[in-house]
């Protein structure tokens, strides 16, 4: 749930929007347009962000909850993104889970976080660390998750390590 360009400028990555009532309206309108074109159920994903807006009128969790409720979409919960945001901006990821409608979570994304200077980023290039497995485990225990994807697309380890991570995910989802 983001924007990637505006005013003819391509940002080149996912950028957050201020969590406002107007942004909810725009998201809902855009999602309805997409839903008219495709028949497949739509799931929305939470992003990592490096910028927060003091002008936001609600929390990220409340924003996601409102958009999901107004569109009927599922949630693709990226547990790594949630963990990274909680570390970068000093909030409790459990509080975020308490805010969102967990019955809407259909799939999880996960991978390790990557330290870049003072912050963590989602580089898709690191082994999933224990803290992220903790988030994964709690979400898996509280939601009826139907699938999970390991988002690794760089700095590849031996394949056995990938399989091991998938096995851990499967065990946590049982």
């Amino acid at each position: 749930m983001c924007f990637t360009g505006a005013g003819g400028v391509k940002i080149g990555h996912l950028a957050p929007v201020p969590y406002t009532k107007e942004a909810v309206k725009v998201f809902v309108r855009n999602i309805e347009r997409v839903k008219k074109r495709i028949k497949t159920p739509l799931a929305l994903e939470n992003i990592t962000y490096l910028v927060q807006f003091p002008s936001s009128e609600m929390s990220e969790g409340a924003f996601i909850k409102t958009v999901l409720e107004e569109t009927g979409c599922g949630l693709l919960l990226d547990v790594t993104n949630l963990y990274i945001n909680s570390r970068n901006f000093g909030f409790d990821w459990r509080g975020f889970l308490d805010e969102i409608p967990l019955d809407r979570v259909v799939q999880l994304h996960f991978v390790g976080s990557h330290r870049h200077g003072k912050r963590l980023i989602d580089a898709h290039a690191d082994k999933t660390e224990a803290e992220i497995w903790r988030v994964f485990a709690e979400v898996a225990a509280r939601c009826d998750v139907r699938g999970a994807a390991l988002e690794r697309d760089g700095n590849f380890p031996p394949f056995a390590e990938i399989l091991e991570e998938l096995e851990t995910a499967k065990k946590l989802m049982r």
């Binding site: 005013g7 950028a15 929007v17 910028v51 927060q52 003072k118």
Partner: protein, 186 residues
């Protein structure tokens, strides 16, 4: 300020280093020039400059990482100067299509031809640009005249130190016949 106007301004702040610096040092002046009201300027100026810089920087790093994947030979020959040159390039160019990293890599190769860098590095960039165009645009044929034998830039026995390469005129050719692709040097 409407979300649309806010996004327009944010996109510019994230991607245009000069505009970002100007706005952060004189938000009122730049804000008024951008058509913002006092409240709108305050709203945007409340964003932490450190967050803004970090996000903008992360965008360049992401582009850099992708460019390195597209241009392994140029990266190898240019060494650490690849990063510095790319950072300068990133301030002059912003890709516009969905194939943004491909577009970025090609434009960076063109940018390197205008830079004062060792001949082998320019040659590696020229070679990889021709290769990218052949595969990316699904060309039937691509021909590239080179001042060095780029094959000596890579491989187990290659010396990546750019100044150690001797000039040798070569022509790299890529040919597509049906599903078969041939690549050779003359």
């Amino acid at each position: 300020m409407s979300l649309k106007e806010q996004q327009n301004l944010l996109a510019k702040l994230y991607t245009d280093a000069e505009f970002r610096r100007a706005f952060l040092s004189e938000p009122e002046k730049i804000g008024v020039e951008s058509g913002l009201s006092a409240d709108e300027i305050r709203e945007i100026a409340e964003i932490m400059p450190e967050e803004l810089h970090f996000f903008a920087d992360s965008l360049v790093w992401k582009r850099l990482g992708e460019a390195e994947k597209f241009l392994p030979l140029t990266r190898r020959v240019l060494g650490e100067d690849f990063t510095g040159n790319f950072r300068e390039f990133s301030q002059t160019y912003n890709p516009r299509t969905v194939k943004k990293h491909f577009e970025d890599a090609l434009a960076f190769c063109r940018f390197l031809q205008t830079r004062k860098i060792p001949g082998p590095a320019k040659c590696a960039a020229k070679f990889e640009a021709a290769k990218l165009e052949f595969f990316g645009f699904e060309k039937r044929i691509a021909v590239c005249r080179l001042d060095y034998d780029v094959r000596s830039f890579s491989g187990a026995h290659a010396n990546p130190a750019a100044e150690n390469h001797e000039k040798t005129k070569k022509i790299a050719v890529w040919l597509r016949t049906g599903k078969r692709i041939r690549h050779f040097f003359i």
